[in-house]
Symmetry: C2
Subunit: 384 residues, 2 copies
């Protein structure tokens, strides 16, 4: 269980098979976010059809509604959501910070007011693990604090040290053998602090690691060096999960730097807002041009929307505020990100990853490939 | 083309196969409403899976947005919506009355303000046929006025006579041989006026007839006698379409009285509002009971929602305002109405229709079977 077998590499980038209790997945992979026990608008059969491998569930949302006991009564998230494959749950820490009101952080944990009914809720490392054991995902996360950006060096240091103490408490109460607990490397964009987080966390020797505290508002010129520093410090034989990251360009750069797992609400959220992802950037289906275009979003895409519908029809749905519009754009965008990781995996296996990534970037970035992206590719081109 | 072959009868009720240019359908049937070129939230593959045979499109909505020219550029509604089966379009008349602002009815047609942008639009019999030929449905409707309920006898009489003159104008401009134009029998709930409408309309000898002007607010004790009077006056060898009717009890009563085709937004609209149709009446998924029920909506239902989800999960989706909730409830409700017509067809074929309908009604009406329903069954039990 939780075996991670590297099958091909290209510099730091790697293709691996990762075995979980509910099945084997192939990395690098993108994980759709099923915040409240559903990837918004998408059925389990459709997730399979677009190539999803592992689905993310949110501890914060699900503990508030319907509560982990109701999910457990269904045999966990696979039974509740009817998606029979592997799941990953976050620890609730990040979302308490972003959604909870009047939060107070102490050594014990976090007290916050529910965004649903204002009730006072206490989330501790122990409670986070209890909830995640009820939700029953294959991969669960250690309870951490994700400091905002910017934050002072003192704050980030104190926070990451507390996160390490919370990790110990998570491990102490964790009881299910069929769940792998990933600790989360923090330290913001400061290499000294990232090094400290790595030093304090590595001895735990878990089945995999998450890289947290990034994609919280810092510029990409700071984020990707921090990713590069983190992956360089992590053991090669364990999966690495870059949390909350999922724009196409971030996936390609992250893969180059040796990241194996990604998640983000981006493909479904931007789909609900009327945007379609392509190799030439995003198409705004709210604009007037697509309304008269009789071709699909993307001739090369094999998703249901691209096989059945013209841009004109999809633009009509968006304009008419019809539910099928966000549904189809979400589906297409998930397929786009899954295909992107498939293409990256093929290129790694074929030894063409870096040239493929550069050609992709030339088509994708309309105003020239940004320096941070080229730098990430270059850094990743040589194995650590 | 447009052949209507009766295969079995039970009193006035009949099972028939109806051939259209885009395929053969079996009646009695319920037609889902694709108001703006989409059955809200449901894909074409799902329509096939739940047993939909013919989809309705709305001339009023589609002429305003995206315009019939754009639909025609896709080869009509089947190409635009990616639903390859038969379609029916209404004439726009009814929706101008219910949605248009500041309408003015003259002998020429109706002038109204678009509910989208307030622009002044002139809808005439000629324009309605032009739009419907662009939309390209298999069955199209004559342009009519549907008087409100209540209305004076004088008004309803003048209106139905004008509707007959409009029918002539529709037939004069109709140019496509592959579309069957159904005239609409009006006359409100007044038998003298219904008889007049029948007398003036029958000589046109169309491929089928619509029964209009009902389900607009009148009590069922007035509506179903008017249905019975209409079907009794229509030729047996032509399909009869009761417009805008689609509650389960109305389908069973209408079938008993010899109606072959129904349409209504009810199954999808009530699904979006959180209600699930069953043989025991509607389940309110917004209420607290379903939140802890681990069984499907309906053990006997073969829809995707019933095969995959518990009531607790679906109630969670509704409560969390997740898109998958209305989508799945709409799907289930469509399947429920299609199964209801399938069961009615089987019972007609087996010679058990009236006993089946009475058993169904005993389970469905929680406060006793209403008089209007029993009366409709009884009236329909004897062939005309």
């Amino acid at each position: 269980m939780f075996e991670f077998d590297i099958q091909a590499t290209a510099g730091r980038a790697r293709v691996a098979s990762f075995t979980t209790p509910r099945g084997q997945v192939t990395t690098p992979m993108f994980m759709p976010v099923g915040t409240q026990g559903t990837v918004k608008g998408i059925s389990p059969d459709e997730l399979h059809a677009v190539g999803s491998q592992m689905i993310l569930g949110n501890t914060y949302h699900l503990m508030l509604r319907p509560g982990e006991a109701m999910v457990a009564a269904h045999g966990g998230l696979p039974g509740f959501t009817a998606y029979p494959g592997p799941f990953l749950t976050d620890s609730g820490g990040f979302q308490v910070m972003s959604l909870g009101h009047m939060r107070r952080i102490t050594e014990d944990g976090v007290v916050f007011k529910s965004h649903l009914d204002g009730s006072l809720i206490n989330l501790t490392p122990e409670r986070s693990i209890q909830v995640q054991e009820g939700l029953g995902a294959d991969i669960i996360m250690a309870f951490d604090e994700c400091p905002p950006y910017p934050a002072t060096t003192e704050y980030v240091k104190a926070s990451l040290e507390r996160t390490v103490r919370w990790l110990e408490r998570c491990l102490n109460v964790k009881s299910r053998e069929d769940q792998a607990l990933f600790p989360i490397i923090q330290g913001g964009t400061d290499e000294t602090l990232r090094a400290l987080s790595l030093e304090l966390t590595l001895p735990v020797n878990p089945h995999g690691f998450a890289i947290g505290g990034l994609a919280v508002g810092e510029p990409k010129t700071e984020m990707f060096p921090a990713v590069a520093f983190s992956t360089a410090g992590l053991p090669e034989n364990k999966p690495r999960y870059l949390m909350g990251v999922g724009h196409p360009e971030d996936l390609v750069a992250g893969i180059a730097l040796g990241v194996d797992m990604f998640d983000c609400v981006y493909p479904t959220r931007t789909g609900r807002f009327g945007y379609a992802l392509t190799d030439q950037g995003r198409i705004n289906m709210n604009s007037s041009a697509p309304r008269t275009q009789l071709q699909p979003i993307d001739e090369s895409c094999d998703c249901y929307a691209c096989r059945h519908y013209t841009r004109a029809y999809l633009a009509h749905l968006v304009r008419a505020e019809e539910m099928l519009g966000p549904r189809m754009l979400s589906l297409h965008n998930l397929r786009y990100l899954h295909r992107l990781t498939e293409r990256a995996r093929d290129a790694i296996s074929n030894g063409t990853f870096h040239s493929w990534a550069r050609v992709w970037a030339d088509g994708y970035f309309k105003n020239g490939v940004p320096e941070w992206f080229s730098q990430a590719l270059q850094t990743g081109e040589t194995a650590v």
